[in-house]
């Protein structure tokens, strides 16, 4: 019985001792993403891109070695927050980066910034953090969530497309996409259909769609939902009948699963693998060489995240205690981004171009690829920066 107590005590002491010792000579970055479950495919892409970025940097920033710690949020905000806590308190990281999901970001970011550490988000861009809850320690290398559907709204408005049928899953992101779309699209919307989160069968909704006979269809179906929807849309013969526009539905991760069902798809995005600038060509080329397929935008953003952090560390010459200096450096966005030149708005969200992308046939019978067709927005600001109190 005493043995049990001793074992228990030893275990507890061991846990405490197992924590790594504090070191001022390294740049420690915590990267939170989803590594388990079906969405782990996104986290994988982000991790691959982070590793590639660090390799390109020679695993050093301003001469200091970089230590990267990955955490899995399991798509749960409370787990994400615990992972962030662990990175801050146990590993004592200098930066926290990553985060795919808006709800996880809304739990993680205040935790990180509240602890006085810099947060470099590389995907989720909830409007709260771009607006009233903006924080000088929070930066994002992706976008504000609404910007992407806003671009689609603008394109369809300018193209004079009327009678649009809109579909999205019934959750916060779905509603945000629709709101962003309607901010710039002023034409007639035939119907707004919200489906159950995680729904697999869309036959009923497709029948309704056909009956309504719209001129165009705009959807937001991320992940597995998009794959199911696209297959069924295509097999229902609707591809030829109604042009399909979308955001965050067709990307380099889902194309291998839908193949020709994606052909002709039109999406808006701030980046594409075929964007011609040196940083992007190097990133995409090396990624393709190493992993046998093009990277996704999730990866591009994460790559940029590492480069942004590097630019900050270099600007203060490795003096990580000079946070003000690092913030000032990051605001300049003085690094070679995969999207080309961009600048930061007062709310630390990018002012950047948005393009219309089309899924076209790949080289010699391979999977379709996304290609830029035209620029929809040049230097687009998000719609929430005015609510942000920061001025600089």
């Amino acid at each position: 019985m005493l043995l049990h107590k001793a074992v228990l005590a030893g275990l507890v002491a061991g846990l405490f001792a197992a924590a790594p010792a504090l070191s001022q000579q390294k740049v420690k970055i915590g990267f939170i993403t989803t590594l388990s479950g079906p969405q782990g495919v996104i986290g994988n892409d982000m991790r691959n891109s982070v590793e590639l970025a660090l390799d390109h940097l020679g695993r050093k920033m301003a001469g200091l070695p970089v230590e990267i710690i990955y955490g899995d949020d399991q798509v749960k905000p409370d787990v994400g927050k615990q992972v962030a806590d662990e990175m801050l308190k146990k590993h004592q990281v200098n930066f926290v980066s990553g985060v795919i999901w808006s709800n996880v970001m809304l739990a993680v970011s205040p935790t990180v910034t509240g602890a006085g550490t810099l947060m470099v988000g590389t995907n989720a861009g909830p409007n709260q953090l771009a607006g009233k809850d903006c924080n000088e320690r929070h930066f994002t290398t992706s976008w504000q969530n609404d910007q992407t559907p806003e671009a689609m709204g603008k394109y369809m408005q300018e193209a004079g497309i009327n009678d649009v049928y809109v579909m999205a899953p019934n959750y916060a992101a779905g509603k945000d996409m629709l709101n962003g779309f309607k901010r710039y699209y002023k034409g007639r919307i035939v119907d707004e259909v919200f489906t159950r989160l995680g729904q697999t069968d869309y036959q009923a909704e497709l029948s309704q769609l056909r009956a309504k006979n719209p001129k165009a269809v705009f959807v937001f179906y991320p992940g597995g939902m998009g794959i199911s929807f696209l297959r069924q849309y295509s097999e229902a013969g609707l591809r030829g009948q109604f042009p399909l526009y979308s955001v965050y539905t067709v990307d380099e991760l889902s194309i291998p699963a839908v193949k020709h069902a994606a052909l002709g798809q039109l999406e808006t995005r701030y980046w594409s693998p075929d964007l011609k600038n040196p940083a992007n060509q190097k990133f995409v080329g090396d990624y393709q060489k190493k992993h046998g397929r093009p990277p996704s935008f999730y990866g591009a953003q994460s790559y940029d995240g590492m480069m942004l952090i590097d630019s900050a560390v270099r600007a203060v010459k490795g003096n990580l205690a000079d946070q003000k200096g690092m913030i000032a450096a990051m605001r300049k966005a003085d690094f070679n981004s995969t999207r080309g030149k961009f600048s930061y708005n007062t709310n630390h969200h990018p002012i950047q171009n948005f393009y219309l992308l089309k899924a076209v046939a790949g080289p010699s019978g391979k999977d379709p690829v996304m290609e830029i067709q035209k620029t929809v927005f040049a230097n687009h600001r998000d719609s929430f920066y005015k609510e942000c109190a920061m001025k600089w």
Binding site: M1, H4, K5, L8, A9, V12, A13, L15, F16, A17, A18, A19, L35, S36, G37, I69, G71, D72, V75, K76, P77, D78, K81, Q82, D85, E86, L88, K89, K90, S102, N103, L106, A107, P110, T111, P126, D133, N170, Y171, A172, A173, K175, R196, L197
Partner: protein, 323 residues
């Protein structure tokens, strides 16, 4: 009466938990304060589930619903500017009890597989409702900027103070459940679990007793929910996801069903195991990337071969519920 080995270990663990804040400060590892506090909150939830599942034999797959209701009670009131902790927690407990009454009234009429399914279905309904309510962020959730306020008494923003509050509540809950199952009320529940027909034959209708136990379990879990939302400082419908119910059930069985100490051992074991499998960088890539595989194997093995759980490794007291 000489306490059993199991009881002694339980007290030892509680004593160790009481020492965690001091140890954490000494080793400069404040993260462990948060980790163990989280473990204790889930231990409270697991203890409530153990009441109906371990002792009562009611396999409720919907227990996470009460975590959600307790959390929402606090979060929603805070969102509308009501920060009084007494009021928030009272609503959390009362609200959960009420919902448990409604769900229990319908579900307990069924048994076996039907009971499992219907409790699961109710939780799913609540989950989808939570996602749909935009006012409270839907599935984005909302931040709880100001924790439950207990004017002049305790400041939950102080991690150590909050820690001791949770520890005290855990001890109270464990004692409460222990007393309950050893009372006449508890006897009927346990009798009905082992032989429903015979219980009826001696004149007890299990239904009201089961319902009462279900409501009490819901209320306690609501308290855990209130604590959890303060711990996370964030409200999300994910608290009500059915897989979380599965996690709670695992804690109960891992720790040892039908024992007082089980829920605490189980919560600690599961959460520490998860943390270890994911975080320990010394583990090979193959384990890291697929840690749920190994978790699954551990769970299956425990169910098949170590049914009596961690608490079952220790000898329990002969008289009393542990056994």
């Amino acid at each position: 009466m000489k306490p059993s080995p199991r009881t002694l270990v339980l007290f030892a663990v509680l004593a160790l938990l009481a020492a965690v804040p001091t140890l954490a400060a000494a080793f400069n590892q404040p993260f462990y304060l948060d980790l163990f506090r989280r473990i204790m909150i889930f231990a409270i939830a697991a203890a409530s589930l153990n009441l109906i599942l371990g002792y009562g034999g009611m396999v409720s797959f919907g227990h996470a619903a009460y975590l959600g209701i307790g959390a929402y009670a606090v979060g929603v009131l805070a969102h509308h500017g009501i920060h009084n902790g007494w009021l928030q927690w009272a609503v959390a407990i009362g609200g959960s009890a009420l919902v448990a009454l409604v769900i229990g009234a319908v579900s307990i009429r069924t048994s076996g597989i039907y009971f499992i399914m219907i409790t699961l279905a109710f939780t799913q309904m609540l989950y989808y409702m939570g996602i749909s309510i935009e006012e409270y962020g839907g599935d984005d959730g909302i931040r709880v900027a100001k924790l439950s306020q207990f004017e002049g008494l305790i400041d939950l923003a102080n991690p150590t103070a909050f820690y001791y509050v949770v520890l005290a509540l855990l001890a109270v809950v464990l004692l409460l459940v222990h007393r309950l199952v050893n009372s006449r009320f508890g006897m009927v529940i346990r009798a009905a679990k082992s032989n429903d027909a015979r219980t009826r034959a001696i004149g007890f209708s299990p239904y009201p007793y089961r319902l009462a136990a279900f409501v009490i379990a819901g209320a306690i879990c609501g308290l855990a929910g209130a604590l959890l939302v303060n711990q996370t400082a964030y409200l999300t419908p994910e608290f009500m996801n059915w897989t979380r119910s599965g996690e709670l059930m695992f804690m109960v069985i891992l720790g040892g069903i039908g024992t007082t100490a089980g829920p605490l051992f189980g919560a600690a074991a599961l959460l520490l195991l998860e943390d270890l499998l994911q975080g320990w960088s010394l583990l090979p890539k193959l384990v890291h990337n697929f840690w749920q595989f190994y978790l699954g194997i551990v769970l299956v093995l425990v169910v098949l071969f170590a049914k009596r759980g961690l608490a079952g490794l220790l000898r329990g007291s002969k008289d009393g519920a542990d056994g």
